[in-house]
């Protein structure tokens, strides 16, 4: 137990380091740009109608104050860190004066929901099917599935989502293609709302699962094809151990371990794919928020989303790392 706690502590420190590095990077990227956010807003505003020079100047002063740009950069950085720990990233522009963090927190559960659903289905089911395919090399169904997976796997998330919109929006409109829930339903814990939420999540989730399932299937199949040549599998077969026991207890169980590591490594990509898909389906998660913020020139929200994204992914990786020793007893010994 003590070893596990020490391991957890080490990983926790690593998590904090990653988060710190990530949000600092995000801060510096957004503040070291050659384009000043103040000037770009001024440019946009004055392009739409004309203002007197004094009005422009007072606007400039107010904005500079608002963005905290009146102090030198390193002071801005410390201000930023201080405010960040308190969860304050300033007001948003697209929904002024709602705080940026609040917008992000409203959108976060939707994204997390999609991610959990697609990971559970795509990773779990994909791995099990891939494991069976790797062991039962002669199954025609699994071989066909493999070919389909190869065909779908390289297609980027956006295009799959797009194709789904085409199919279910124009050709066969049976499922809702936008929004998180129907417009006339009020958000509350009623069955009506919950059903509406589930219904609206089917398409985005399916789009994500389609892309992900193939990837895990192929990876697992390749992994398992190598594991079946391992001595302990051959020995169990030699001994007449029940085939079902071998497939699940010996082969898949051992292959899950590197697949869990792979999941941790690709979580960043999965997250990116999720928020891209959200945007296509106008799903009220971080993806749609981000695009809206960029188009609206709202740097506070963009920064907020970036920071939360970094924290979310890093935390998810940390949690997966915590599960790892439970699956692999060899790691426990370290």
């Amino acid at each position: 137990m003590r070893g596990y706690l020490r391991f957890a502590l080490k990983r926790l420190l690593q998590l904090l380091a990653v988060v710190f590095a990530g949000i600092s990077a995000a801060f510096f990227i957004s503040h070291l740009s050659p384009i000043s956010p103040v000037e770009s807003i001024i440019g946009r505003v004055s392009g739409q109608s004309s203002y007197s020079p004094q009005a422009i100047q007072s606007l400039r002063d107010t904005l500079t104050e608002l963005f905290g740009l009146s102090v030198p950069l390193h002071e801005q950085y410390f201000n930023f860190l201080g405010r960040f720990v308190r969860g304050d990233l300033g007001p948003s522009l697209i929904a002024f004066p709602t705080p940026a963090m609040q917008l992000v927190m409203l959108a976060l559960p939707w994204t997390v929901g999609l991610m959990v659903v697609q990971i559970v289905i795509a990773w779990l089911v994909g791995n099990i099917l891939g494991g069976l395919a790797g062991y039962y090399q002669n199954s025609r169904f699994l071989k066909a599935f493999g070919i389909v997976a190869i065909g779908i796997q390289p297609i980027p998330y956006y295009i799959v989502a797009f194709l789904m919109v085409i199919v279910f929006g124009f050709l066969w409109p049976v499922l809702p293609i936008s929004g998180g829930f129907a417009m006339n339903v009020r958000p509350s814990f009623t069955p009506e709302f919950i059903l509406s939420v589930l219904g609206h999540s089917i398409l985005p989730a399916s789009s994500l699962v389609i892309v992900g399932l193939g990837t895990w299937f192929l990876g697992m199949r390749a992994l398992v094809s190598n594991i079946v040549t391992e001595d302990y599998v051959t020995y169990a077969e030699l001994a007449g151990v029940r085939q079902q026991r071998i497939v699940f207890g010996y082969v898949i169980r051992n292959a899950m371990v590197p697949q869990l590591t792979a999941l941790a490594m690709t979580l960043g990509a999965i997250f990116s794919g999720t928020i891209i898909t959200e945007q296509v389906f106008a799903y009220p998660g971080l993806g749609s928020l981000l695009v809206r913020a960029v188009n609206g020139g709202d740097s506070a929200v963009v920064l907020a989303v970036s920071c939360i994204a970094i924290i979310a992914v890093a935390t998810a990786i940390f949690l997966i790392d915590m599960i790892h020793p439970l699956l692999d007893p060899r790691v426990r010994a370290e």
């Binding site: 030699l238 029940r242 051992n254 699956l327």
Partner: protein, 344 residues
């Protein structure tokens, strides 16, 4: 009493097709032999001589591209008889572990790393023993005791045990269901000598207790001298000589055997040992006639053209050589007077 295993004209080949080239590797090419009850039969041969493929057939554990092409390998157990070379999977499953078991090479990796020893034992032994729950566990503890392993081993994971303990566990796994026939595939290779001695005496004691027959495969002639009642020498997929151990060492009747036997070094003996020229043949394209002729110091024209049959040349001794009569022990062999009686 009938022999427990009778192999007749067994042939097993690898049939492969890669990048348009078809290859037929004759790993087991017409082997006929038998193992008696309560006997330890040693099989010696170089790597890629086909001995591993041979015992895989005997263990009913071959998979494509290795296939049995001809012949039979029949076991006569107490309650049933089965030809594993031609039997279906159900018949083979019925004898696995309860009648026929296997000790594999390499104790490092034969145990499932994510499963506790106890569960692995359950996987292997529950079906053949027909027990479960407490009775089963009791059996395990008893058996581990015979192997001088403490009951705590059951709750451990493989990586928590030392190499020697793992090897004992593996032997325990193979013997828990009291099989009548055990195939041991190089169980002591890559073990240091001290552990080797332990493992060998363990196998010997278990064999005596259970009255089982053992086929013991190793390229180490010293181990054969210690363990085997009879030894069979396999070269290039064929059995080239077979004799009781003592006879084999003191009066080999095949040039290859003579070299093998002479290769054992002894303290104080500085005789130069003649090395065999050449390399083992490619089993996809073996030489005509006697497969050993390219390297044989006694080879004559007949050897190049006709395959010598495995014929009985002395009491209980067979040799596949046209010139068996001219084979003499080479310098460096242990003189007859010095070969101890078998330890059993």
């Amino acid at each position: 009493m009938a022999d427990i295993l009778t192999v007749e004209h067994l042939k097993a080949y690898y049939l492969m097709n890669y990048f348009g080239i078809t290859r037929e590797v004759r790993a087991v090419d017409d082997i006929t032999m038998s193992v008696r009850r309560n006997e330890v039969y040693g099989i010696a041969g170089e790597s890629s001589s086909g001995k591993t493929s041979f015992i895989r057939v005997l263990a009913a554990a071959i998979r494509p591209p290795l296939r049995v092409v001809a012949g039979s390998a029949r076991y006569e157990f107490d309650d049933r008889s089965i030809d594993v070379a031609n039997a279906g999977p159900e018949a083979a499953e019925a004898i696995r572990w309860s009648h026929l078991s296997y000790i594999m090479q390499g104790s490092m990796s034969v145990l499932n790393p994510v499963r506790r020893i106890e569960r692995t034992f359950e996987d292997f032994a529950a079906r053949p023993l027909g027990l479960s729950g407490r009775a089963l566990r009791q059996r395990f503890v008893e058996h581990l005791g015979r192997l001088k392993l403490p009951p705590e081993v059951l709750r451990a994971f493989p990586h928590e045990l030392s190499g020697g303990m793992r090897q004992r566990v593996t032997i325990g796994l193979a013997t828990i269901a009291n099989p009548q026939f055990i195939i041991a595939d190089e169980p002591t290779t890559a073990l240091d000598v001290v552990v080797q001695k332990d493992v060998l005496s363990l196998i010997r004691n278990l064999q005596k207790e259970m009255g089982a027959s053992v086929i013991f495969v190793t390229h180490d002639m010293a181990v054969h001298a210690n363990m085997a009642d009879r030894v069979g020498i396999i070269y290039a997929g064929r059995l080239v000589e077979e004799a009781p151990t003592r006879q084999l060492f003191t009066a080999p009747k095949h040039p290859y055997t003579a070299h093998l036997v002479a290769s054992l070094p002894r303290i104080g003996d500085t005789t130069q040992r003649p090395a065999l020229e050449g390399r083992p043949p490619n089993l996809a394209d073996p030489p005509q006639g006697c497969r050993f002729h390219p390297r044989c110091p006694l080879a004559i024209e007949k050897c190049r053209q006709e395959v010598p049959p495995l014929a009985t040349v002395a009491p209980d001794q067979r040799s596949a050589c046209w010139r068996w009569d001219d084979v003499v022990p080479l310098p460096g062999s242990i003189p007859a007077a010095r070969v101890p009686e078998p330890v059993r």
